[in-house]
């Protein structure tokens, strides 16, 4: 993109661009346009960042604490659930609460990404229909928005860990590659679900109810060890794998972290493949669907 300067100094000149859209496109040219979408979206990172921030600001507009309400509600929920379940499960609060705080916050992040992925394009309808805009921008926007939410909820984890003086060791750094996998998966999934849910409006409720079921069958509020001998089957649940590659290291390494990594990689590769194939095919049609 170039920005020629001319005429008066107060004139803002639009970026030069060129466009070549052909209806009878081969897979290769479809791929090229999809790649251009990603590149164009990445170039507009400042817009995506601003929109993500804006979503949070507008969601909490006029409230005194703003997004810190997130921190408070998560904190209260973790405290209440922690008391209840540590009694129900007959577990030591000192052990259970840090686990629950971490699991709950991380799960909240994953679940929100999945559910907001469904509406990432339909919510931006007016923009998509009035200007040519890379769809990737909206994927980054959804990610940014949820990272901000996660940032506020991390306080709950830090406080809980501090109260029970459960400091993670150096192995906690192993959570970073896990988070990178999350970021890639989130972006890819948003492109996929955003397009798919724009076409089929039934998908979003399905996704939401599946996620609700997943919350209970994934060890979020209960510990993997409680399953006893069936524990080895857990890595078959891709959400467990994803959760564990970040949670495991932060809790000082779970027994299943190795297998979870394997599962997470297999699942992520499959997700990327399916999503890319769908996005390449659907990209040019999304505007007609929303």
């Amino acid at each position: 993109m170039g920005y020629p300067r001319r005429v008066m100094s107060t004139t803002t000149i639009a970026a030069t661009a060129s466009l070549d859209l052909n209806a009878d496109m081969s897979v290769n040219s479809r791929q090229r346009l999809a790649v251009n979408d990603l590149i164009g979206g990445a170039r507009l990172w400042r817009l995506a960042l601003a929109l993500g921030w804006l979503d949070i600001r507008l969601r909490y507009r006029g409230s005194m604490l703003g997004p810190f309400w997130l921190t408070i509600s998560t904190g209260v929920m973790v405290a209440a659930l922690g008391m209840l379940y540590s009694t129900l499960f007959k577990m030591d609060v000192k052990e259970y609460l840090p686990f629950l705080a971490l699991s709950q916050v991380l799960w909240g992040f994953l679940a929100a990404l999945v559910s907001e992925g469904c509406t990432s394009f339909t919510d931006a309808e007016s923009v998509i229909r009035s200007v040519r805009m890379p769809f990737f921008v909206f994927a980054v926007r959804a990610l940014v928005r949820n990272i901000i939410v996660l940032g506020h909820n991390i306080i709950v984890i830090v406080v809980t860990f501090a109260i029970f003086s459960k400091l993670p060791g150096w192995e906690a750094l192993m959570a970073i590659p896990g988070l990178l996998v999350w970021i890639i998966d989130a972006l890819v999934l948003t492109l996929f679900l955003g397009a798919f849910c724009a076409r089929f409006r039934d998908i979003q409720p399905i996704v939401n109810s599946v996620m609700q079921i997943m919350f209970f069958i994934t060890p979020v509020i209960w510990k993997p060890e409680q399953l006893g001998s069936s524990m080895s089957k857990l890595p078959l649940n891709p959400l467990f794998d994803l959760l564990e590659i970040v949670r495991g290291p932060l809790l000082g390494g779970g027994a299943l972290t190795g297998t979870a990594w394997l599962g997470a990689i297999v699942f992520s590769v499959a997700l990327c493949g399916v999503s890319w194939a769908f996005f390449v095919r659907a990209r040019g049609r999304i505007t007609f669907w929303i």
């Binding site: 000149i13 009878d24 804006l54 009035s130 039934d202």
Partner: protein, 254 residues
């Protein structure tokens, strides 16, 4: 420097699938697929043919006016040129920077201040950071918001909102300017100052494509007129010629 502006539209057709009610449902698709009805279902899908076989080449200096009744495909053609709708058949090639004035409130957020809206618009257009202050200065000066610039747009008077929207829309100068009819319908345009600004923008553009119901504006600004009727090109030529044909037809077209 900038490339030579050029628009090529080859045999472009666009049709909208109508996904109302049942055709949007996944269940219907799955059931139809399972019972072997999918192929038939897809052929029976209701589609609106918004553009049919449109052929058009515009070079530097061309000023094209689009006329036609409601639903003739004027806005759809503008959206195709802007790259928003990708053609279902045919090919579109556009060279040069482009600004499409299609939605009066693009990116305008009532909860944000005027200044924030200006910055957001700059970001939507992918302007690099050093260019943002210039944009802000230009818009603020034209819209005459003074102290209101740092207050939310929500509390602006209707006139102020119109001025801000107009200033934003006309702030970024493209090589190819696409303008939908709403843009000329607002009162703002008839203020002398706004008229000057708009005319300067139109003059500055290498290619103009303008959709309008107002024959006078088309006659004044355009060097070529395309008459669309139900998505097809009905006439294409000099303004005087096509306009007299268009205006000569009975009102049933509208």
């Amino acid at each position: 420097m900038a490339v030579r502006a050029r628009i090529e539209v080859e045999n472009v057709s666009v049709w909208f699938p109508l996904y109302h009610g049942s055709s949007r449902s996944l269940k219907k698709m799955v059931v139809a697929a399972a019972s072997g009805r999918l192929g038939q279902d897809q052929q029976q899908r209701v589609v609106v043919r918004a553009l049919r076989d449109v052929h058009l080449t515009l070079e530097q200096g061309d000023r094209l006016g689009l006329v036609g009744g409601n639903g003739a495909g004027k806005t759809t053609l503008l959206r195709v040129l802007a790259g928003i709708y990708e053609p279902v058949m045919g090919r579109v090639r556009v060279q040069g920077s482009l600004n499409a004035l299609l939605d009066p409130s693009l990116g305008m957020n009532m909860e944000l201040t005027g200044r924030e809206n200006i910055l957001l618009r700059g970001l939507y257009n992918g302007l690099p950071k050093p260019m943002l202050p210039r944009l802000e200065e230009d818009v603020a000066e034209f819209a005459e918001l003074s102290d209101f610039l740092d207050l939310p747009v929500r509390i602006y008077s209707a006139g102020m909102v119109v001025r801000l929207g107009f200033a934003l829309a006309t702030a970024i100068k493209p090589q190819i300017l696409l303008m939908d009819e709403w843009f000329l319908a607002g009162d703002a345009v008839f203020l002398e100052k706004a008229k000057h600004r708009l005319e300067a923008m139109v003059r500055g553009a290498d290619i103009l494509v303008l959709s309008s119901h107002q024959a006078e504006i088309i006659r004044d600004w355009c060097t070529r007129v395309l008459w669309l009727d139900q998505g097809q090109v009905r006439a294409d030529g000099a303004p005087a010629e096509v306009l007299s044909q268009y205006l000569g037809t009975p009102l049933e077209m509208a």
